[in-house]
C-alpha cells in the first residue's frame, strides 16, 4: 500500500551537507591521481576519493603553483568509481569552487595543499550547493571555517610528509580546547570566543554539545594502519590519507589495512594482524627538514 505524500523537496541544506560527512564517519578518504588509483581505493574499501593531479608529496617535491585539477581528470575518476568523489580548490579561489560545483563533485576541499589564491579571505561557502571541507590547526580556525559554511573539518597535519606528528598536534589542540570549553561557565565562553577569534554562538554550541557542530576528520601525514588508529583514538571521526597509500610499496594492501585499522581502531589484536607484511611505507620527512609548512596557509 502507498501513502500519498505531498513531499516538498529542499536541497543543499546544512543538514544535507553535513549529512554526507556523517556517512563517511569511521571511514578512509584516499587521495588518487588517476582513474586506476581510484578503483584501487574503492576496492580497498575507501568511503570516498579525493581527485587530484599530484599527491601532496609530489607537490612538495616539484614546487611551483599548485592549482585545481583538470576537469577531465576529475570526470574520469567520477566515471571510474561509485563512491563519492571530492576535489580541491585553492584557498579563496571561489571560481575553482564554482567549476568543481559544475562538475558535481560530492565535496570541495578548500585546501592548504594547493597554493592560496587569496591572502585575506576564504571562500564564502554558504553560497554553494556542494558541501565544503576545510583544514584547521586549532579550534579557532575550525570555527571560523564553519562560520564561513564548511560542513566538515579536518585537522590539517602536514600533508606529504608521511609524518603524523603535526596531525596529532592539531587534533590534540582542537579536541583539548573543546573539552575545556565544556567546563567553562557562561562568562568564560565570551572570553573563549574572543581568544579563538570565533563567533560566540558556535562556542556556546560546543559548550552545550561537547563537540563541533560538524564532523571532525584527520588529515596530513597518516602513513600506516597504526597512524590511522592513533588519530581515531585521539578523537578523529575518519581519516584522509594522501600520499601515504599511493607513495607506498603496495597501495592496494596498505589501503585495505588502513581501512580495517580505522574501523577496528580500538582493537590492538586486529591492528597487529592488519599491520603485517605491508611492504615499504612511504618515506617520511622529519619536521625540521620540511621547508614549506602547508599547515600555515589559511588563517
Amino acid at each position: 500500500m502507498t501513502e500519498e505524500t505531498a513531499s516538498a523537496v529542499t536541497k543543499a541544506t546544512a543538514r544535507v551537507k553535513r549529512g554526507l560527512a556523517e556517512m563517511l564517519r569511521g571511514g578512509v578518504i584516499m587521495d588518487v591521481v588517476t582513474a586506476d588509483q581510484a578503483k584501487i581505493a574503492e576496492d580497498a574499501g575507501a568511503v570516498a576519493v579525493m581527485a587530484l593531479e599530484r599527491v601532496p608529496a609530489d607537490i612538495r617535491r616539484d614546487g611551483g603553483v599548485a592549482r585545481m585539477s583538470d576537469p577531465a581528470l576529475i570526470e574520469e575518476i567520477q566515471a571510474a568509481v561509485s563512491i563519492p568523489v571530492m576535489a580541491k580548490a585553492r584557498i579563496g579561489h571561489f571560481v575553482e569552487a564554482q567549476i568543481l560545483e559544475a562538475l558535481q563533485v560530492d565535496y570541495i576541499d578548500e585546501s592548504e595543499v594547493l597554493t592560496p589564491a587569496d591572502e585575506a579571505y576564504h571562500i564564502d561557502k554558504w553560497r554553494f550547493s556542494v558541501p565544503f571541507v576545510c583544514g584547521a590547526t586549532n579550534l579557532g580556525e575550525a570555527l571560523r571555517r564553519i562560520s564561513e559554511g564548511a560542513a566538515l573539518i579536518r585537522s590539517k597535519g602536514e600533508a606529504g610528509t608521511g609524518n603524523v606528528v603535526e596531525a596529532v598536534r592539531h587534533l590534540r589542540s582542537i579536541v583539548g580546547d573543546i573539552k575545556k570549553i565544556t567546563q567553562a561557565d557562561s562568562a568564560e565562553l565570551h572570553g573563549w570566543a574572543k581568544e579563538l577569534r570565533a563567533p560566540y554562538e558556535l562556542v556556546a554550541e560546543i559548550a552545550e554539545a561537547g563537540k563541533l557542530p560538524v564532523p571532525l576528520f584527520c588529515a596530513g601525514g597518516i602513513a600506516t594502519p597504526a597512524d590511522a588508529a592513533l588519530v581515531m583514538q585521539l578523537g578523529a571521526e575518519a581519516c584522509f590519507v594522501g600520499s601515504g597509500i599511493f607513495k607506498s610499496g603496495d597501495p592496494a594492501k596498505r589501503g585495505r589495512a588502513i581501512v580495517e585499522a580505522t574501523t577496528h581502531y580500538q582493537d590492538a589484536t586486529i591492528l597487529a594482524k592488519v599491520s603485517r607484511n605491508l611492504g615499504v611505507p612511504m618515506v617520511g620527512i622529519e619536521m625540521d627538514k620540511v621547508d614549506v609548512h602547508l599547515a600555515e596557509r589559511g588563517w
Binding site: M1, T2, E3, E4, T5, A6, S7, A8, V9, T10, K11, A12, T13, R15, V16, R18, G19, L20, E22, M23, L24, R25, G26, G27, E42, A44, G45, A46, V47, A48, S82, I83, P84, E101, Q104, V105, D106, Y107, S129, V130, P131, R256, V259, E260, T263, H264, D267
Partner: protein, 177 residues
C-alpha cells in the same frame, strides 16, 4: 529510546542482539568490512532466522535482494525482496530533505534527509511500502519512489532518519518486530 544498545563490529558482539540496525555509509565499504570482520555469515543467519533488521540508506542496499549500479562483488543479503539503484537520486548536489508521511508513524510528517540515496525500483509481493517520495530525477522525469518498505522482519528506508533527529521510525522498528 529506553533500550540497551551496542555497536556490532565483530561476530561475538552480535550474540544476544534481537534488533539489528545497518546504518548509512558507503555500501561498498560496509560490504567489504562485513567480509573482513567475518560478519557476513552471522548477519545472514540472523536475517534468515527471522531476526529484526532495520536498514537505512546503505543499510537498505545491503539488505536488498538485488542491486543496480553496484559493484559486482558487493553484498546483497536478500533479507527483503526489493531491487535498489545505488545513488539513484544523483550525486551529492541532488541530496535533499523532504517531509514524508509514513504509514504507521503518527504525529505528522517526518522531515528526513536523502543523501546520495538509493532508489527502490522494484518491490516484491510480500513487501509493503510505508512511504513514498515524489522527486524530479536527473533525467527530468518526476516520479514517485518508495522511501520506506517493510517485510515480515525487515524495515528499510532510503533516507537517514537520524540526520534530522526524528526517532519515530526507530520506535516503529522496535514496536513492529
Amino acid at each position: 529510546m529506553g533500550v540497551e544498545s551496542r555497536l556490532v563490529k565483530l561476530p561475538s558482539e552480535l550474540k544476544g542482539v534481537t534488533h539489528l540496525v545497518i546504518p548509512g555509509g558507503e555500501s561498498t565499504a560496509i560490504s567489504l568490512l562485513l567480509h573482513s570482520s567475518d560478519l557476513l555469515e552471522p548477519v545472514a543467519e540472523f536475517a534468515a532466522g527471522g531476526g529484526a533488521l532495520f536498514g537505512t540508506c546503505a543499510g537498505m542496499i545491503i539488505l536488498a535482494s538485488e542491486i543496480i549500479d553496484g559493484r559486482f562483488d558487493q553484498v546483497a543479503l536478500g533479507a527483503i525482496d526489493i531491487t535498489v539503484r545505488r545513488n539513484g537520486f544523483g550525486r551529492q548536489v541532488n541530496s535533499f530533505e523532504a517531509d514524508l508521511v509514513v504509514h504507521g508513524v503518527s504525529g505528522g510528517p517526518m522531515t528526513v534527509a536523502f543523501i546520495r540515496a538509493p532508489v527502490v525500483t522494484r518491490v516484491g509481493p510480500d513487501v509493503s511500502v510505508l512511504a513514498s517520495v515524489r522527486y524530479e530525477f536527473p533525467d527530468g522525469g518526476t516520479r514517485e519512489a518508495p522511501a520506506v518498505c517493510r517485510s515480515k522482519n525487515v524495515l528499510v528506508s532510503s533516507f537517514h532518519p537520524e540526520v534530522t533527529g526524528d526517532d519515530r521510525l526507530h520506535k516503529l522498528f522496535l514496536e513492529s518486530f
